[in-house]
């Protein structure tokens, strides 16, 4: 299989050894993405197949509605790349071979990309919060089939840390950026809690359902639905079993008790007039009423918005809210990028520490060998009852002497001096590879 996307490797030894191949909403339309979408069992199966390849040491597959990405720790980069390309993507969708459909990232760039994904920076809706949970689920799946090794496990820990910090320390996920959540946000600025709100839906079509979902999800318990077609109202009830169906004419009486009204009918004339709302408000003058008009043409007479305690918002107003929230999220991007860089630095430090581990092990082994030899020669000169104490003392000495050098080797700064420092330790302590055989 040709590998047109894979450029020759240029990363240094300081970079984490990673390979990412993926496609997302920016590269591929939904018709292609859905064909390379992997469910739970398919993901497990694919990970097992990938791991069976000699070129692959560790693997992680993330598949959501907006992206399918495979992260590998390769033994042989080109072989691993060809394996992903063929098994994960082209086997299902040959059209993905066309330029621009797939992206390939390596080493530090691959790691940065995953941290960006977990933080919501790569999402179709900037700061979308669900992605962090999806990354965690995918990670758990890879762990369960044994596809995660130390490198990917540590990378995923950094990714979830970055995602969690982005949510906690910045406003990247704040503010509603969809119609349904914009309604929830408006309601939360007026009422003490959605749990206590009675919601009246006038119209039971797709828009009503899409708005009702987040409203119910966020706690609204009492749902009234008034629709001209009883059949459609019944369909609505099938999805929302707690909803109470009203005759269309009963909507006016329901206005007297409702807190939130969502109108989304296809009617040419307003289904709620100023007179209707004025009459209803007489029964509840001090109780605020939020009216959301999602109809085009408008379902609620605009003049009704001037009534005291009536908060009328049409689709334009909700769009203003969504655009405002998106702008605020964009302003948070530099803060999230800073968090990603911090987590990436920790990850890189860990990877560098990983390189030093064999050397540290050799150093400790050699010190222990010297300690044992010296002890064997010396123990005969000391009484039996002191041997245990001498053992403890010499072990402690060795551990303390090696503590600082080991720590320094693990926490190198990634500069040019790191490699020469490793060589120097090898030279100073005479740590040849041959000696480690025992």
């Amino acid at each position: 299989m040709a590998a047109p996307l894979l450029e020759p490797a240029s990363g240094s030894r300081q970079e984490p050894p990673l390979l990412l191949v993926g496609t997302d909403y920016r590269c591929s339309p939904i018709e292609l993405r859905e064909k390379v979408s992997y469910g739970k069992e398919e993901t497990e199966e694919m990970l097992v197949h990938l791991l069976a390849r000699a070129e692959v040491a560790e693997a992680f597959l993330l598949s959501t509605c907006n992206r399918t990405e495979v992260y590998l720790q390769p033994r042989d980069e080109e072989g691993a790349y060809n394996a992903i390309l063929d098994m994960v993507f082209l086997h299902r969708v040959p059209e993905l071979e066309r330029p621009g459909r797939l992206y390939v990232k390596r080493n530090g760039e691959a790691a940065r990309h995953l941290l960006g994904v977990a933080s919501g920076l790569e999402s179709m809706v900037l700061g979308e919060p669900e992605i962090l949970g999806q990354v965690k689920q995918a990670s758990a799946l890879a762990e369960a089939v044994g596809a995660e090794g130390p490198v990917l496990r540590r990378l995923l820990r950094s990714a979830t840390a970055a995602g969690r910090r982005a949510r906690q320390e910045t406003a990247i996920t704040s503010g509603a950026v969809s119609l349904g959540y914009a309604v929830v946000e408006l309601a939360r600025n007026i009422f003490r809690g959605l749990e206590e709100c009675q919601v009246l839906l006038i119209g039971a079509g797709e828009i009503a359902r899409s708005v009702a979902r987040p409203v119910v999800e966020r706690g609204a318990r009492e749902l009234l639905v008034a629709n001209r077609s009883l059949e459609r109202a019944q369909q609505f009830k099938a999805e929302f079993p707690n909803a109470e169906i009203l005759a269309f004419d009963e909507r006016l009486a329901a206005l007297q008790t409702a807190d939130l009204v969502i109108a989304s009918t296809g009617a040419d004339e307003p289904v709620l007039t100023r007179a209707h709302l004025k009459a209803a408000m007489k029964h509840r003058p001090s109780q605020p009423l939020l009216v959301v008009d999602l109809g085009v043409p408008r379902n609620v007479e605009p003049r009704a918005g001037r009534l005291e305690n009536v908060f009328l918002h049409a689709i334009d107003s909700l769009d203003t809210l969504i655009q405002r929230n998106l702008k605020r999220r964009k302003e948070e991007v530099p803060k999230v990028e800073e968090i990603i860089e911090q987590e990436l630095t920790h990850f890189r430090g860990w990877v560098r520490g990983l390189e030093a581990e064999p050397l540290i092990a050799r150093l400790q082994k050699q010190a222990e060998k010297i300690r044992r030899n010296e002890m064997e020669a010396a123990l005969a000169r000391f009484p039996q009852e002191t041997h245990e104490e001498l053992e403890r003392l010499t072990r402690s000495l060795v551990r303390k002497i090696l503590h600082h050098p080991s720590t320094r080797l693990r926490t190198r700064d990634g500069g040019a001096g790191d490699l020469s420092r490793l060589d120097m330790v090898r030279e100073l302590f005479h740590l040849d590879d041959d000696e480690t055989a025992d």
Partner: protein
């Protein structure tokens, strides 16, 4: 002691100004430094204020509301304490900037109006008379808090009505909560002011017989009481909603300021304190 009092009267408005700026950063930009420092800074300022009031009481041997300046400082202190409690109880600091700004305003007025040697009023040595003063202070404090929440209610109401979602939208408690806080404060304030007027009438009748009835301070206080009574009554009768009540709380706040400042300094004779 005098040195501490002289220093504290300068430090207090400065401290509240810094705290207000801190809360301002918190409200407008959620600045991380302000996130960490606002609450401890406010608590520090309130402790300094408490020390000042205790020192004042010990030094003068009287309830620290014998002058308008002292009364203003007491109101500032009580508003700060109310906010510290609200913040602690509700775990929300979104209204901090506005209430601490009011605290700063009252303390600044107090510091500016403080005179080195205030008159020693014998009546303030009577612990029973202190009940009248304490009730009046409690009432004014509650009305100041009501005005603060009323102001915020009106801003959020306007943002929500207009659909512009400007400065206040998304940063304050919900409209219903602001309305409830405002109404609660108004009710407490009204009950306290009623008590203050009743106890004041009792004392004035004993000391001054009928002369006090025509004093401008008394007339203006009764007018303020009537304004709040009307607002609460209209609300009870469901003729007024949150917006009108909030406007009334702001009007009442203006009346209190006028009563404390202009009436005390220019019109009244016998009620030259609170």
């Amino acid at each position: 002691m005098q040195t501490f009092l002289d220093t504290a009267i300068i430090l207090l408005p400065l401290a509240y100004l810094l705290v207000a700026v801190d809360y301002g950063f918190l409200f407008f930009s959620s600045h991380p430094v302000a996130e960490r420092t606002a609450t401890p800074a406010l608590r520090g300022a309130v402790l300094l204020h408490l020390a000042y009031l205790v020192a004042l009481t010990v030094h003068r041997h009287q309830f620290p509301a014998a002058t308008v300046a002292q009364a203003l400082s007491m109101v500032a202190f009580f508003v700060a304490v109310v906010y510290v409690f609200v913040e602690w109880h509700g775990r929300a600091r979104s209204t901090g900037f506005w209430l601490v700004s009011l605290v700063f305003f009252f303390q600044l007025l107090s510091s500016v109006l403080t005179r080195p040697n205030p008159p020693d009023r014998a009546i303030f040595h009577d612990p029973f008379f202190s009940v009248h003063v304490l009730l009046a202070l409690l009432g004014y404090t509650a009305f100041v808090v009501a005005a603060g929440y009323g102001f915020l209610f009106l801003q959020l109401y306007r943002d929500l009505k207009s659909g512009r979602f400007a400065t206040f939208y998304g940063k304050l408690p919900p409209l219903e909560v602001l309305e409830r806080m405002m109404t609660g404060a108004l009710l407490i304030g009204f009950a306290a002011l009623t008590g203050a007027v009743a106890t004041g009438a009792f004392w004035a009748n004993r000391l001054y017989h009928d002369q006090w009835l025509h004093d401008p301070k008394i007339l203006f206080t009764v007018a303020t009481w009537v304004l709040y009574a009307a607002a609460l009554l209209l609300r009870k009768l469901r003729r007024w909603q949150g917006r009108q009540t909030a406007l009334a709380s702001l009007a009442g706040f203006g009346a209190i300021l006028f009563s404390l400042m202009a009436v005390n300094f220019f019109f009244t004779g016998f009620h030259g304190f609170l």
